[in-house]
């Protein structure tokens, strides 16, 4: 019996150690990212880093202003959601209410494939189609090279769609059927029932889908880097190239050293904080809105 007991004890401590280790990983990541990024933040100053426009890491007195890249990250995320949300919500409604179960399963399989396609392939695809097309047709404009914010937004929209659709479909399916019956009972047709009642009842699920979609998109690196042109500028002309925080890290990391590398880690910290803000807003949405479609 003695041997048996300490075998059980051994495994139960192993279970405990595993979960403790798993939960501390996030902390470990935070520690090391901050550890590497703090020198540049201290040297150049957090305020200047967030709001200064010029990024010249290899100059005599280097400047590590990230504001153009932070803006590019935010703008590309919002614009991609502007495309992904309508398509995502409308197709989710169609899948849950307007098509047969068989068609729905087929399309959901296609959405899962889209979710599974590695971002490097999506970037490659857009590079060889959209970017090439943009240069062929707009090369006469100064500064246009095909690699552009528009191409980046298109890639990010493709990335956001699967996340938004899978979660919206789940939210719509969880809507209490009593609302549907009540609406139909009042002589509303299917479309009115969906858009006036069911979407409202699944509001918190849909908001979670959008926020998760934003989280997925804001952290995208490989696909954006291939198509965005990586020029450090912000412009209302979407055909001009741009550089997001993630692309900045991936482009310059291989040859960066000293303070330059530390500044890249600092842009990683900024990105990390943005992601954490998104996670926290998600938590608030889910807790607050949890009840309305009970």
């Amino acid at each position: 019996m003695k041997k048996y007991l300490n075998k059980q004890l051994f495994f139960e401590t192993l279970y405990k150690l595993s979960i403790i280790f798993a939960s501390l990983l996030l902390l470990l990541i935070i520690i090391f990212i901050f550890f590497e990024g703090v020198p540049a933040l201290k040297e150049y100053g957090v305020f200047k880093m967030l709001f200064n426009m010029s990024w010249q890491p290899t100059a005599h007195e280097p400047s590590f202003g990230l504001s153009k890249m932070i803006l590019a990250t935010i703008i590309s995320t919002l614009l991609s959601l502007l495309i992904a949300i309508p398509i995502g919500l409308l197709s989710s409604v169609c899948l849950v209410r307007l098509v047969s179960r068989k068609i729905k399963n087929i399309i959901m399989f296609i959405v899962e494939i889209l979710a599974g396609i590695p971002s490097v392939i999506v970037g490659f695809f857009v590079l060889k189609t959209i970017v090439a097309f943009l240069y062929q047709h707009f090369y006469m404009n100064i500064g246009v090279s095909g690699n552009s914010m528009l191409a980046a937004v298109f890639v990010l929209a493709l990335m956001a769609l699967p996340t938004i659709i899978t979660i919206t479909v789940k939210a719509l399916e969880a809507v209490n059927p009593m609302y549907t019956e009540a609406s139909l009972g009042l002589g509303a047709n299917k479309i009115q029932t969906i858009y006036k009642v069911e979407l409202k009842a699944a509001k918190s699920g849909i908001m979670a889908a959008i926020v998760l979609g934003a989280g997925r998109v804001i952290g995208e690196t490989m696909a954006v880097m291939l198509v965005s042109g990586n020029a450090i500028n912000i412009s209302s002309n979407l055909l001009l190239p741009t550089r997001t925080l993630t692309a900045n890290i991936a482009t310059e990391m291989s040859y960066a050293s000293g303070l330059h590398q530390s500044a890249l880690y600092a842009s990683g910290i900024v990105l990390f904080i943005m992601i954490m803000l998104i996670n926290i807003t998600l938590l608030i949405i889910l807790n607050k809105g949890g009840g309305d479609n009970a």
């Binding site: 798993a22 996030l26 197709s91 899962e112 590695p118 189609t129 659709i165 479309i191 890290i249």
Partner: protein, 271 residues
Amino acid sequence: MLNHPWQVKLIKILTYLATILLVLLVFWMVSFIIIQGISYLNMTLLKESSSLIITTLMVVFLALLIALPLGIFSAIYLQVYTNNGKLVKMMRFSIDSLNGVPSIIFGLFALSFFIYYLGLNRSIFSASLIMSIVVLPLIIKNTEEAIKTIDIAQIQGSLALGASRFTTINRVIIPYCIDGIINGVILAIGKIVGETAAIMFVIGSASSIPKSFFEPGSTLATKLYLIIQEPTYSSNGIGSAYGIALILLLIVVLLNLLVKLVNHIFMKRRG
């Protein structure tokens, strides 16, 4: 809005259009890769990318070797040994946030922790370590989902027969949630195969078959990234990029079919 028949008709058309557009987009991308890649999918490409496939399998194997036990044990602890106290909520939040961390941040962490701090060299081993961390939340969540679906009666039945929590785990819980674990594994493989940003700083690059875990290497995805950037340096130029992209795409489709198959089998078993 939606109070007049023409508005209703318009929205209905838009709803169908959105779905068609979604399907067309995916078909356009997939067919583009297939059409361009199919002509390069021949023996020379398979031979040339054999080192990439082997390296990818090595990363998948080692990452899962670490993440699986860690993930399953963590899921068991979360589902069986804890109530929903404050500490558990914290743990859940940190694992969910870990799941939301972008892969470039994992890349930065891998570079500073494994390479600079621990002094490991840029190798398949370092890439596998970071990938085990990347897929850990996936394994935990899927295993937890599976454990949740076990109806309480079965667990209570086993406990009622005098079995300790530990034997209940081995005899009832783990066998029952095999499909959740398999789902987690398949999704994890999908994530590892397609990953570039998390491992690009720590895996180095190589064009021959690696002899050990501690040599630098190139997976299908990292090599694809290099060739896209520098097609002139690969044997048949951009063609091999299309070839590798097609191989990756086939793997993704295969993995998704596998998930469907596993769910189907276990759905029948669960009745």
